[in-house]
Subunit: 339 residues, 2 copies
């Protein structure tokens, strides 16, 4: 077994086996009409018999068209990434394109801009017709093929991008909590260098200000969007002399950390502590109690990105370079009014 070191078959092998020239095989492969029906059949049969598939590399190099869209994301297995992937996958299925996801598996938090542009050029102009990048630090890429950024870390990116209304979503969450009577509201933020985190903090502060509640430094924790860090932050908040009656978590994974810490301290959610998250991940429904959270339609961002990149690939112009997605509070069972 496993003696299949039979050298990979090329278009030349197919041509030889079918008794035609490589040009003709190429024409068959690309469904050009300048080939006799009989010849077409014969070549197709040989292709099937030999199990031939054309080299994506060679094809892309010569014809400048691969029908493949690239996707670059820092960590493919993170819940956020998975949600994006779902949307992209759905859109790809309905398109004529295939998808290649590229990652170096590096889950170090701070991918450098240089590395990102490296990845982009690596794919673009060789094996992909266009690239979608997720939460990039860089937004200026030197490449011929089009690029679309999802949630870029740049207030004014110079490539087409999709962003969600982070401040507005946070504001909705705050208004909801304040409407329930909460006045001591803790906030556990994401990594502060991320634009999304600073925009959500903005919403938190604006929400307080609009209600005339003074900003209290002690109620702010700087997390990193991970559950474990959020657990620690929550413990710090809950052991304050005057602990918060509600916590606004900057994303759902952070909210999970809040749940964990609350359970460890025998603090009941929502009776003794209200919690609001951000993202509306699939998992948030399964939490007990089900998490109230801000939906930022992550999957939609993915599918819209595909639509945009396809337009760009086909030389069309976009209606808008900056596609904003409206966030929306989803009320479940993790909050209770505070009297």
């Amino acid at each position: 077994m496993m003696e299949q070191i039979r050298k990979a078959i090329t278009i030349h092998d197919v041509a030889a086996a079918a008794g035609v020239s490589v040009s003709t095989v190429s024409r068959v492969l690309n469904d050009k009409d300048d080939v006799a029906a009989e010849t077409y059949e014969r070549v197709q049969q040989v292709i099937a018999e030999l199990g031939y598939a054309s080299s994506l590399a060679a094809r892309g190099m010569r014809s400048r068209r691969t029908n493949v869209i690239g996707l670059i994301m820092p960590d493919v297995a993170a819940p956020y990434s998975v949600a994006v992937l779902q949307g992209i996958n759905r859109a790809i299925a309905q398109s004529d394109y295939d998808l290649i996801v590229y990652t170096n598996g590096d889950v170090r938090k701070n991918a450098s801009a240089a590395q990102e542009s490296y990845f982009v050029s690596l794919l673009n102009g060789s094996i992909t017709d266009g690239v979608i990048v997720v939460t990039p630090v860089a937004t200026n890429f030197s490449t011929a093929a089009p690029i679309v950024a999802i949630d870029p870390n740049n207030e004014s990116p110079d490539c087409p991008a999709i962003i969600s209304t982070n401040r507005d979503g946070a504001l909705q969450a705050m208004n909801y909590l304040i409407g329930l009577g909460h006045r001591r509201i803790g906030f556990i933020n994401g990594r502060s260098e991320l634009v999304s985190a600073s925009r959500r903090l903005r919403g938190y502060r604006d929400g307080l200000a609009a209600a005339g509640i003074p900003f209290n430094e002690n109620l702010i924790e700087i997390g990193d969007y991970t559950t474990e860090t959020a657990r620690i932050c929550t413990h710090r908040l809950l052991q304050l002399d005057d602990p918060p009656t509600a916590i606004f978590a900057a994303n759902d994974q952070t909210a999970m950390g809040v749940y964990q810490a609350a359970q460890e301290r025998k603090v009941l959610i929502p009776e003794e502590l209200s919690v609001v998250g951000f993202d509306n991940l699939r998992e948030s429904v399964f939490l007990n109690p089900a998490l109230t959270t801000v939906d930022q339609f992550i999957s939609e961002m993915g599918s819209i990105a595909v639509e945009m990149i396809v337009k760009l690939i086909n030389g069309k112009t976009l209606e808008t370079d900056l596609h904003k997605i409206q966030t929306q509070l989803v009320i479940r069972d993790s909050c209770k009014s505070f009297v």
Copy 2:
């Protein structure tokens, strides 16, 4: 803005800008030692300035080595796939290789063998040095580069593969339930054409047989590993004249469907119905009550696959072509003894 239709830069541009030949630039790129320190520096600087990245396609075509590993999976966003991805990602990060995930976004359940081999040849021999395929139907690929299959749908695949002990895991689950006193145990299977499903059914039947419990056709439902179908199957089981006191779900997503149906019928888990799953997905901890399930170490399968493919790429031989992973029952809160 967005006038970056500056034609992609090639090694020739770099060579011209640095005042050297393309050969020298190539040597710098590949860290060959036949280049003066001063020249090396200058070329590196030009590369950085121009933001040049070599074309993966051209490189792979010429040098037969790309340092990229391919991964082919039917649905990247499915929970199972995500778990595999996690393991693969972890292992990739510690290796010298990058990862490309290929999908056509087709979530149709039955990908054809032809399509699979097409994908494999597409990647292999052009842009990847080796490919990992997840739950392939085909296991005989005509390609020069190595292949490793995860959970192949073939009892005796003729390529190196990683499989988990499905029957044994199911047996553990059954012994546990029977040990708790259950005798009417329902089983919701996955798609019957999958090897994993038939092996788990085998374990279910063997478990019954060992305990002297007669097999009852009515307690078997054929699902498709999805939550929605499982919901429907569960309703059928629970409205039987003599409904099961426990349900063994063929995977965790199926178990979630059982939870949903139970909730709709006001059937309490575990008081009135015990549930065991299979997979031990991340989500299973968040379920309420936490799901007792068979861990099949999906992530480990991914990282082991990377180890295997790297060995094969480097011409080493594997200790074993068929790597079996031991499954293990994880007991949580979804089962109770039946008196």
